[in-house]
Structure formats: structure tokens, C-alpha cells
């Protein structure tokens, strides 16, 4: 890692955020969903990093056991889980507790099952898109 120079304002060699993909990934992992999508519009490199499933995994479940991963991957991946399930759920619950996580996974599974049917767009999660009655 290039050392940051004290005189780095004009000509010195500083550390560019784009120099290390892993660090950039770690930074983007800590954003919320909307910010990740915005970050994906910055440049090609950021766009490819923002599409990594590990970023969305963090987003979905910050405190959950890694055993969930094979199932989520089999059902379509974390990004899909976030878009289809987690994002609408986050309007109504925090998804911090394991039982909330479990419920979102179950709903995601039903959704995946419907995509297997292949007859039209899956609709079992449409009810999540209703605005919450205040």
C-alpha cells in the first residue's frame, strides 16, 4: 500500500480509493441499499464491485451465521434477496433478530419456488409492495 505523503496536496503520491478493490468492497459493504445503488453509477469499477453478492450479503444480514449462504445462493443470491424481500421488509421491521431473518428467507423461498413454475411473474410477494398504512 503506497504510503501517504505529508505533501500530498499537489504532486505527492496519496492513496486512491480505487487502488485497492478489497478495501473499496469493505467500504461499500457498510452502506445502505440505496447508497450502494448510487455507488454503482459512479464508474465501471464501482459498478462491478457494487454488483458483488458479498456486498449484498452484508446488507441483508449483518449478524447472521454463514450457514445461510448456500441456501441463499441456491435461491438466487443476496442481491436478489435484498431487492425482492429484504428491502420491502425493512420498511416494517429491522431484520436484526434471527426470527425476522428466517421469515424473510422463507418468503424468499416461496418466491423462488414460484419462479420455477415459469408461468408468469411470481406474485407471492406482491403484498409486500403495498404502502404501509399509517
Amino acid at each position: 500500500m503506497p504510503a501517504a505523503s505529508r505533501n500530498s496536496i499537489g504532486g505527492g503520491r496519496g492513496f486512491g480509493i480505487n487502488d485497492d478493490v478489497d478495501i473499496l468492497t469493505e467500504v461499500l459493504k457498510r452502506l445502505d441499499g440505496r447508497s450502494v445503488c448510487v455507488a454503482a453509477c459512479v464508474c465501471r469499477q464501482w459498478s462491478s464491485i457494487a454488483r458483488k453478492d458479498s456486498v449484498w450479503e452484508e446488507l441483508c444480514f449483518r449478524h447472521v451465521s454463514p450457514g445461510v449462504r448456500p441456501v441463499v445462493v441456491a435461491l438466487g443470491g443476496y442481491k436478489r434477496l435484498y431487492m425482492v424481500c429484504v428491502r420491502p421488509l425493512l420498511k416494517r421491521m429491522t431484520l436484526a433478530r434471527p426470527d425476522e431473518v428466517q421469515l424473510s428467507l422463507s418468503l424468499f423461498c416461496v418466491h423462488y419456488y414460484e419462479t420455477l413454475a415459469g408461468s408468469g411473474p411470481p406474485s407471492s410477494l406482491m403484498f409486500l409492495c403495498n404502502p404501509v398504512n399509517v
Binding site: 450457514g67 445461510v68 448456500p70 441456501v71 441456491a74 435461491l75 421488509l89 416494517r92 421491521m93 426470527d99 425476522e100 428466517q102 421469515l103 428467507l105 422463507s106 418468503l107 423461498c109 416461496v110 423462488y112 419456488y113 420455477l116 413454475a117 406474485s123 407471492s124 406482491m126 403484498f127 409486500l128 403495498n130 404502502p131 404501509v132 398504512n133
Partner: protein, 535 residues
């Protein structure tokens, strides 16, 4: 106060004492008077605000609609009642204006459908004086709602009268009343609320009264039923609640077993099982080997729909690494299924799942006893039963009709909150078919013989089952599921170890779990005894 001013009744001095309010209250604690209105000189209890607002709205409309002689009578009268006691004042004025009609109190599910008080709630609570704009804005729809409310109430009364005629066998009277109701229906909004419910019941009654050969439900293929069922699944939480609650119980019962077998009494599209498969995949210690036996009606056009569903479930299970096997049993009636068709292995843990199927067997005592008997012979670890929480199997037609009118009004009410189309319309058709079956069919054709939880408890107890408490996990999951639905009226309640889901404190669907006691010596010789007792 807009209606107050238009009536042009001289303002009385606001009373200094609270004696006028205590005469109207029946509670011993001092009632909580709304502070904002008290500042303007009116004593109204905070709990009464909504009621008073509705009444004032009605009074205004009634005054606008009533002939001028009445109004001049009121205007020339001396002050009859103390207007600072707003609640009694508006009630007495209303009764004077509506001499012929005293509005009967509706059950809460029907009266909720009448007017839209939510806009008024906000304006009363948040502002110093109710803004005139709010009252005017509500004037147009409230004119309609007063007329509609009267027609709605009249429809309900006519429906009850018609049902009574049917019970007494006076079909010609019933028929002419049906025609009257159909014409009244044209003046009511049948898109929502009481108009819609009344429309369904009038249709069901007319099928009963006018159908040749005595009673007929709505004909429909199994394929149509599946589609309507699917939309009912999406539009409201009842089926989701049923599936998730049953799955949670089954998951807990399968704890520690490596070979498990689920028997589903009505497979449909198999929407219940992906969630269970996924939960089993993630359980600590790894997934068991899962067998699923799905019972369903035979498909008419040669497609093996059961097998297709099975293949889909197998694909899902394969992708999450759960060893899975499926077997389909095609039977048009549950009583045609024999236990040997299920091929239960004595070493596996069996779960029997019945979502709204057992009530179809209640036409005569024999089928239900036979089915419960062979379920017990399978020695299941758990039997999950979800049924409608209603008494639609009473012998008297009028009782059945009344009960189903209130039950389905509540259900339609809950569906009103759903915004998804066409899901909502098709879900309503699904419910309409049930209504038709309850009202217009008899004998073996009447399948929807719902019985309340208490009666199922007795029945299952007599058949040798003991209740399994559903536990707090199921309750928490059900509550979480409900927070996802945008309508705020659903409620989950615990009832002696069973869970019920209802709308505004009226339970509509009840989920319970049971297990079989070890087999006693008195086993019917017809029932295949499955291996030794494995607990």
C-alpha cells in the same frame, strides 16, 4: 361548529358546572373531556369524539335533505337541550328529524363499512375548531352514505327475512323478496362494503330458491378453483398464516428425526412446502430426508398436475440440498383415500397437514370418524389442523345464514384493505363460491361445513388426539407476518395453545396442532396397523 350555526339556534351560556355531563354518563370515573372543545364551550368526552363527529355529519345532511317545514319547526322552537352537551344534543336532534327511522345499531363489522370517519378524526383532534372545509369536503360522500346506509340496513333486514322464509319453506315469498332485493341492490354501491356482501348473499339465495332440482352452487373446474385459491393466497394473510403456523409446528415436531414424512391433504400448488424445505435445510444438524405425499383431485385433461408440483418441489429441495421424495395421491374426496396409499414407513416421523379440508367430511358422522381413525393409525408425530372459525354447520338454515352473513362480512371487510388487482377481485370470487356453497347447497353437495374450534377440540379428543400447544415461536412468526400486511385490522390471538387470526377481534381462522396417544388395544381390524409403536 358548522351544523350548529346553520340551525340558527341561539347559543346557550356554557354551563360552569359539570352536572350536565354527569347526567349523561354512566361510568363512575369522571369522563375525560376533550380540552380543545372545552375551550370553545362544549363538553364532549374524548372517547365520544368520533361518534359525535359522525352524528353531526349526519345531522347536517339530514337537515339539508329534510323538507323545510321540519327545519322551520326546529328553528322556532326554544332551546330544547343544552347544546354544550354536544353528544346528547345531536342525538336528540337527529331523532327528531328522522322520526320514522331510528337507526338500529349494526354489528361493528357492518357499521364500519358505512361512513369514512378517518378524515374527520384528524380534523377533530388536531385543530382548535373543526375547519369548515373538512365538513364541506365530506358533505358529498356523506350524503351518499346516509342514503346508502339506510339501503344497506334495509338489505340486511330483507336478507334475514328472506332466509326465514326459506327456512319455513315459503319459497314464493322468498322469491319475490329476492327480486325486491335485487332492485334495491341497483341503488347501492356493490363495489365495496355492504353492497358487495349483500350481492353475494342475494345471489346465493336466488340459486337456492330458483334453481331447478333444489339448490346449486357455482359450478367450476378444479383448475379454476386452483387459480382462485392462488389469488386468495396473495390477497390476504389467512392462507399464509395457516401455512407458516403449520410449518413452524411441523418443524418443531420433526426435531431430532432424520426421516420425516409429511402428508398434505390438499396439495394445490404446494405453496406451503418451500418454506418448510428451506427451514429444514437450515436446521442445526443438517436437513433430514423429507418425503411428501400430496393428496389432490385428479386432473381431468390427462395432465398429472400432482406430479408436476412434485417435480417443482423436488427441484427446489435439490437446490438447497435436502434429500426429497414426492408421491401424489389423486382422490376426488378425502374419504376415498386409504392409508395404504400413503405408504408410511414405520421408522419415519409422520406429520399430517390439513388446511381447511376436514370440514368437508362432516355431512355424515361416518366419513370424519373413518378419516380421523386412519390418521391415528399412522401414529403421526403431529397433526396440523387449520379451519374456519365459524359455525356454518348448524341444522337450522336461518342460524347458518345469519352466522355466515356476519362471518363473510368481516372477511370482505378485511379484503377491502387489499389494493392488489386482479388478486382482490379473484379472491372475492373465491369467497363468493364458499358463500354459495354454505347458503345454497344441501346434503353431500354442501362441503363447506365449518365448525368452530371448540367443536373440533371435542371431535379430535374423542378420536384419540391430544392437543399440542403451538408455542411462542409460532405466535411471534404469525405476528411478524401480520406486520407485513398493510391493513392494520388483523389480529393474532392465542386460544389455549391454538392460534387464531382475525379481523378487528373477530377470529376468522384457527390453527391447532395435535398428536395421537399411543394405540390402545381397541383398534378396528380394518385399519392397517403400522409396525410397532415407535415414539
Amino acid at each position: 361548529m358548522v351544523p350548529y350555526e346553520t340551525a340558527a339556534i341561539p347559543i346557550a351560556n356554557p354551563p360552569a358546572t359539570s352536572s350536565s355531563t354527569t347526567t349523561t354518563t354512566t361510568i363512575s370515573k369522571p369522563p375525560e373531556i376533550d380540552g380543545l372543545l372545552a375551550g370553545a364551550g362544549y363538553k364532549v368526552r374524548s372517547s365520544d369524539l368520533r361518534h359525535v363527529a359522525q352524528r353531526l355529519e349526519r345531522l347536517e345532511t339530514a337537515m339539508l335533505n329534510s323538507p323545510s317545514q321540519h327545519l322551520s319547526l326546529l328553528a322556532s322552537d326554544a332551546v330544547l337541550y343544552n347544546p354544550s352537551d354536544l353528544s346528547t344534543w345531536v342525538d336528540s336532534l337527529l331523532s327528531e328529524l328522522n322520526q320514522s327511522q331510528s337507526l338500529p345499531s349494526l354489528p361493528s363489522d357492518l357499521s364500519d363499512l358505512v361512513s369514512n370517519p378517518t378524515a374527520l378524526d384528524g380534523s377533530w383532534m388536531d385543530q382548535q375548531l373543526p375547519p369548515p372545509t373538512a365538513a364541506i369536503h365530506n358533505q358529498q360522500p356523506s350524503q351518499l352514505t346516509v342514503v346508502e346506509e339506510d339501503s344497506g340496513i334495509r338489505l340486511v333486514h330483507m336478507l334475514m327475512t328472506c332466509a326465514e322464509y326459506v327456512q319455513r319453506g315459503e319459497l314464493s315469498l322468498a322469491g319475490s323478496l329476492i327480486q325486491d332485493m335485487q332492485s334495491l341492490l341497483t341503488r347501492v354501491n356493490t363495489g365495496c362494503g355492504i353492497g358487495k356482501v349483500a350481492g353475494c348473499f342475494i345471489d346465493a339465495l336466488s340459486r337456492r330458491v330458483f334453481a331447478a332440482g333444489g339448490g346449486g352452487g357455482i359450478p367450476g373446474s378444479a383448475y379454476e378453483t386452483e387459480i382462485l385459491y392462488h389469488h386468495f393466497y396473495e390477497a390476504c394473510p389467512y392462507l399464509k398464516f395457516a401455512h407458516f403456523t403449520a410449518n413452524q409446528a411441523i418443524l418443531e415436531a420433526f426435531d431430532g428425526h432424520d426421516c420425516v414424512h409429511v402428508v398434505d391433504f390438499n396439495l394445490m400448488h404446494g405453496l406451503q412446502w418451500p418454506a418448510l424445505i428451506q427451514a429444514l435445510a437450515l436446521r442445526p444438524g443438517g436437513p433430514p430426508t423429507l418425503r411428501l405425499t400430496g393428496i389432490g383431485p385428479p386432473s381431468p385433461d390427462g395432465r398429472d398436475s400432482l406430479r408436476e408440483i412434485g417435480l417443482r418441489l423436488a427441484e427446489l429441495a435439490r437446490s438447497v440440498n435436502v434429500r426429497f421424495a414426492f408421491r401424489g395421491v389423486a382422490a376426488s374426496r378425502l374419504e376415498d383415500v386409504k392409508p395404504w396409499m400413503l405408504q408410511v414407513n414405520p421408522k419415519e416421523a409422520v406429520a399430517v397437514n390439513s388446511i381447511m379440508q376436514l370440514h368437508k367430511l362432516l355431512d355424515r358422522p361416518a366419513p370424519i370418524e373413518a378419516v380421523l381413525g386412519w390418521i391415528r393409525s399412522l401414529n403421526p408425530k403431529i397433526v396440523t389442523v387449520v379451519e374456519h372459525e365459524a359455525d356454518h354447520n348448524q341444522p337450522g338454515f336461518l342460524d347458518r345464514f345469519t352466522e355466515s352473513l356476519y362471518y363473510y362480512s368481516t372477511m370482505f371487510d378485511s379484503l377491502d384493505a387489499c389494493a392488489l388487482q386482479p388478486e382482490k377481485a379473484l379472491a372475492e370470487m373465491y369467497i363468493q363460491r364458499e358463500i354459495c356453497n354454505v347458503v345454497s347447497c344441501e346434503g353431500p353437495a354442501r362441503l363447506e361445513r365449518h365448525e368452530p374450534l371448540a367443536r373440533w377440540r371435542e371431535r379430535l379428543g374423542r378420536a384419540g388426539f391430544r392437543p399440542l400447544h403451538l408455542g411462542s415461536n409460532a405466535f411471534k412468526q404469525a405476528s411478524m407476518l401480520l406486520t407485513l400486511f398493510s391493513a392494520e385490522g388483523y389480529c393474532v390471538e392465542e386460544n389455549e395453545g391454538c392460534l387464531t387470526l382475525g379481523w378487528h377481534s373477530r377470529p376468522l381462522i384457527a390453527a391447532s396442532a395435535w398428536h395421537a396417544l399411543p394405540e390402545t388395544a381397541a383398534v378396528s381390524p380394518d385399519v392397517a396397523v403400522v409396525g410397532g409403536a415407535v415414539m
